[in-house]
């Protein structure tokens, strides 16, 4: 027995989401349809609004609903510390741990010659600008312990360490381990034990 077209389409789309597969997507859609007023309609509205408003912060690359994200807006976060991450998910993981009081910079990936991703494809030129315009005193590199992540870290350090203190998270972070998968305690320990490169 197959579900009618629109539903099948929704299930297909849901099944592509991280963490969901065809079976869980089917269960989720069935649940939504059964709880139309309570979950389906509010969810549809929320998705429609986010589709309209979600955008990258022009300054740091965080995802929010305004041109400047709340972190870049807040003067309190302008403490001179700038934490560089690969992906928005890493930024959100750091925020969840609630141990970092400065601002962020999302690169949007890592250097990879083999994948034709160079500095210009990442937000590296913007990072170099921000060091001056926001009078940054410390750059904290929170990049993954993969070869590409570390290449990117060395790349940034090599360019900036003459101008500003550059540190990295302590290597409690497992090889290839991604920030997003670490628990809050590990993140705060890694931040406290950061060291200069």
């Amino acid at each position: 027995m197959s579900a009618p077209n629109d539903l099948e389409n929704l299930i297909d789309l849901m099944a592509r989401l991280p963490g969901l597969g065809p079976r869980s997507a089917r269960r989720a859609v069935l649940h939504l349809v059964k709880k139309r007023a309570l979950t389906l309609i509010p969810l549809a509205d929320a998705i429609a609004r986010v589709a309209e408003t979600a955008r990258e912060c022009l300054n740091c690359g965080n995802i929010g609903t305004t041109d400047l994200c709340p972190i870049c807006e807040s003067e309190k976060r302008a403490n001179g510390e700038l934490c560089v991450v690969e992906d928005v998910a890493d930024l959100w993981a750091m925020e969840r741990a609630a141990v970092f009081k400065g601002r962020y910079h999302v690169l949007g990936g890592t250097l990879s010659a083999l994948d034709a991703i160079g500095p210009a494809e990442l937000r590296i030129p913007k990072l170099i600008d921000r060091v001056t315009t926001e009078s940054i005193s410390e750059i904290i590199l929170a990049l993954n312990a993969t070869v590409d992540g570390q290449t990117t870290a060395h790349y940034i350090a090599d360019q900036l360490e003459a101008r500003v203190k550059v540190t990295t998270l302590a290597q409690g972070v497992p090889i290839g381990g991604e920030l997003d998968y670490l628990d809050d305690g590990t993140i705060s320990a890694a931040l406290r034990a950061r060291k200069t490169v």
Partner: protein
């Protein structure tokens, strides 16, 4: 000791579903050409990191014509602990590993069981290119230090990135520095680990009572001396950038190192030894590797010997069996005829492998 106590091959090459229950004795697999013996050894080799003893793409292992994907399930006893290992690949996907029911990276396999092997393709190891010898040495190094595998992968990845920059004539110095830094750090570790593995092998060989010939081993680099600190290494990479740019690849580093062997007793380089002598040298090194591991880890590795018995004269063959039994290693050996394993008698579990309607079967 390290023992495979259960092994199931599902849809792997010629095997549809082959399930074996084993004890700690060596395993002798005999049967006609094409029966599916090497495929069983390959399945065991997949309980260690990498692509297995044939270095085959994971899709090639999928049983045709069904093309559903393959799976190997195994129970391994290491000392007093028992681990369940599952590894499989679906068409178009890389392989997945689960250890004791939990998803695990491939390199984690290296921490559970040490597995070393000798296959017919290695018969020409001493006369062919340095690649094969370097891989042979790296497998030995990995058996002593499982961290060697990820370090080699990291070095190679950074080098491929650097080679790409060289080929594309990229001139961004910071980018080179970043990659060379990582090549230097991993490269130094690789060279130290290889040296330590070689020294350990020589030590094990010195004290051994064996019928197999001793080898004088050395590491050679086509280029001048290799630097011995990461800083010196990075500096050297920087210096060689112009030459590397012209060549379009990295001309210097541990990826160029070769393993040289000399048949000690005769003082003849391995490449000039007879076919049988070359093979004997390889067996000798594998046995030294096993002996060293037995001493250091308290457990000999699992040893896979594909078609080794057939190439030895009766006396050497008997000696090999005696040495394996003395090591208490679960050695998996293949051969076409039962008579090859007669000297082993009940010291080994003898399994007959045969093919029926295009499917491999095993009679235990």
């Amino acid at each position: 000791m390290t023992t495979v106590t259960e092994l199931t091959l599902s849809h792997l090459r010629s095997h549809h579903r082959t399930s074996l229950q084993l004890d700690e004795r060596p395993v002798a697999l005999f049967g006609a050409n094409g029966a599916g013996k090497t495929n069983i050894l390959e399945a065991v080799s997949l309980l260690s990191p990498g692509r297995g003893l044939r270095r085959a793409p994971m899709d090639e292992l999928i049983r045709r014509p069904e093309a559903l994907g393959w799976k190997v399930t195994s129970v391994l006893k290491v000392g007093t602990s028992v681990h369940e290992i599952e590894t499989w690949a679906e068409p178009g996907h890389s392989r997945t590993v689960r250890i004791d029911g939990k998803a695990a990276p491939q390199v984690a396999l290296g921490h559970i069981a040490r597995i070393v092997w000798l296959i017919p393709a290695m018969d020409r190891l001493w006369i062919e290119g340095a690649d094969g010898r370097r891989r042979f040495l790296d497998r030995i190094a990995m058996s002593f230090d499982p961290k060697h595998a990820p370090t080699v992968l990291a070095y190679e990845k950074a080098m491929r990135e650097r080679n790409r920059l060289l080929k594309d004539m990229v001139r961004d110095d910071h980018w080179y520095v970043a990659l060379e830094r990582q090549m230097a750090e991993t490269g130094i570790t690789i060279m130290q680990t290889r040296q330590a593995a070689m020294d350990r092998l020589l030590l094990a060989q010195d004290g051994a009572e064996t019928a197999f010939p001793a080898a004088d081993l050395s590491l050679i680099h086509p280029d001048s001396d290799l630097p011995d600190t990461a800083d010196a290494f990075a500096e050297k990479l920087k210096e060689s950038r112009p030459a590397d740019l012209r060549a379009g690849r990295t001309l210097f580093g541990p990826h160029r190192v070769d393993l040289a062997a000399v048949y000690s007793e005769k003082d003849v380089p391995a490449a000039q030894c007879s076919t049988g002598e070359q093979k004997a040298l390889l067996i000798s090194l594998v046995l030294s590797n096993a002996r060293a591991l037995a001493e250091d880890e308290g457990a000999p590795p699992i040893i896979l010997l594909d078609e080794v018995a057939a190439h030895l004269d009766t006396a050497r063959r008997a000696a090999l069996y005696d040495e394996i039994c003395a090591l208490k290693a679960q050695a998996w050996m293949t051969g076409t005829g039962h008579e090859l394993f007669e000297e082993l008698e009940s010291r080994a579990q003898q399994l007959e492998v045969f093919e029926e309607d295009g499917v491999s079967q095993v009679r235990q």
